[in-house]
Structure formats: structure tokens, C-alpha cells
Symmetry: C2
């Protein structure tokens, strides 16, 4: 049986992978906190501003590597193919409360994106 | 009940966090493959060469964020405090066969380590 936190995490993931940011954001609490590589992101609007450029402009496709969870916590790891980087894996550890994601520890390697940005300069 | 793959992943993790590289490597298959941010690492000796400098010289402490698994796969996410970087989280997705780790998708953000290296130059 799939855990309730994992259901929410996967539904959120599928939505933004499909570039449906409205649906993706509906799984987040208004005061969601995301600890991302570049720092702390607070609130659903800031989260959308963080994710939208990646989801809408850079992402070509994503492939799930692993997904686990219990009642309150889920971890997913997936690979992404993006415009600047052929393989950019990421991992997210989300905490769910009352059916919404309230916290996300979001992990990916910024190095290849920074290298691609330098090449474009 | 803790899954068998997760037991192996956690035992391996605890060993290298405690800087016991011999014990840590005993949980890896001889022909282990690790997909790390900098590329593919093949074989237990190469894996040790990848992990030892981090475990023995850079790591100050580690704290588990999440750990899940089933019979063959486990995912752990943890934060590390290191000499160059105050918070350097990582995630690993390991595949276990016959009691040993045969594959690891190893994920962390190289950007703060690269920035610290540039500051030292």
C-alpha cells in the first residue's frame, strides 16, 4: 500500500513534471518551506517562482529512480533530462501535514548548471 | 520492520560516518557501481578512493534526514557538516543483492565545495 505522504509527493511531482504548475502548487501548504541548494524558500509563491523556470523552460523529461514514504514523510529520487544538462538527478524529502506538503528538503547538484551558464557567457 | 536493503545501507553509512572504511567497504560488492555527481565509479577500490578523503578528512558530523527501503532498494538522505561546507546534504539510492550493495546513485551538491576550493586558491 502506498503511504499517504508518498501519494501527495508523487501527485505533486507528476503535476510539475507535466508542467501543470497550478495543480502542482495545490499540493503545497501556503506556508511551505523548502530547503534548496541555493537556500531557504518560504511560501507557495516563492516555491512556484523557484520551480516554474525549471519545469516550464528547462525540463525535457524525468524518470523516477526511487520513491518511499510513511504517513508523514516521503523521499523520491529521480533523474531529469534538461536543456542545459543531459542528466540532472534530484532527491526530495517532503513532510506532509493535513494532505499538503509543509516542508521539502530538495537536493540536486548545481555544478553542471553553473558550468552550462559559464559556457553561455 | 526495517527492510533488508535498508539494514545494509544504514550499516554501511554508519561505518563510514565513524571513519571505519574497512567495515564500510565490507558492505559493498567487489564490482559495485556508483553513479556520483562527478561520474561513474566502478569497483570497491575506486569507491573507497572516492569516499575516504571525504570521510576521513572533511567530515565533521552527519545527521540522518530520512531512510526508507524495501527488499532490494534503500534511499537515505542525510546532512553533513564538513570542514569546507557547514551543511552539505546528500542522498543515496542503493541496490542490494546477496547482502551487498551493488549499485549506488549518490547525490550531493558540488557547488559549495567548488566555491570553497576557489576561495582557497
Amino acid at each position: 500500500m502506498i503511504s499517504s505522504a508518498l501519494q501527495i509527493a508523487l501527485a505533486h511531482h507528476r503535476a510539475w513534471i507535466d508542467k501543470d504548475l497550478d495543480l502542482a502548487m495545490s499540493y503545497l501548504a501556503d506556508d511551505v518551506v523548502c530547503e534548496a541548494p541555493a537556500g531557504r524558500i518560504e511560501g507557495v509563491e516563492a516555491y512556484r517562482a523557484f520551480l516554474a523556470p525549471f519545469a516550464e523552460r528547462l525540463l525535457i523529461r524525468a524518470e523516477m529512480i526511487a520513491a518511499f514514504g510513511d504517513e508523514t514523510t516521503a523521499v523520491i529520487m529521480y533523474d531529469t533530462e534538461t536543456v542545459p544538462v543531459a542528466s540532472a538527478p534530484a532527491a526530495e524529502c517532503v513532510t506532509v501535514r493535513d494532505g499538503r506538503i509543509v516542508h521539502n528538503r530538495f537536493l540536486f547538484d548545481r555544478a553542471p548548471f553553473e558550468a552550462a551558464a559559464r559556457r553561455r557567457q
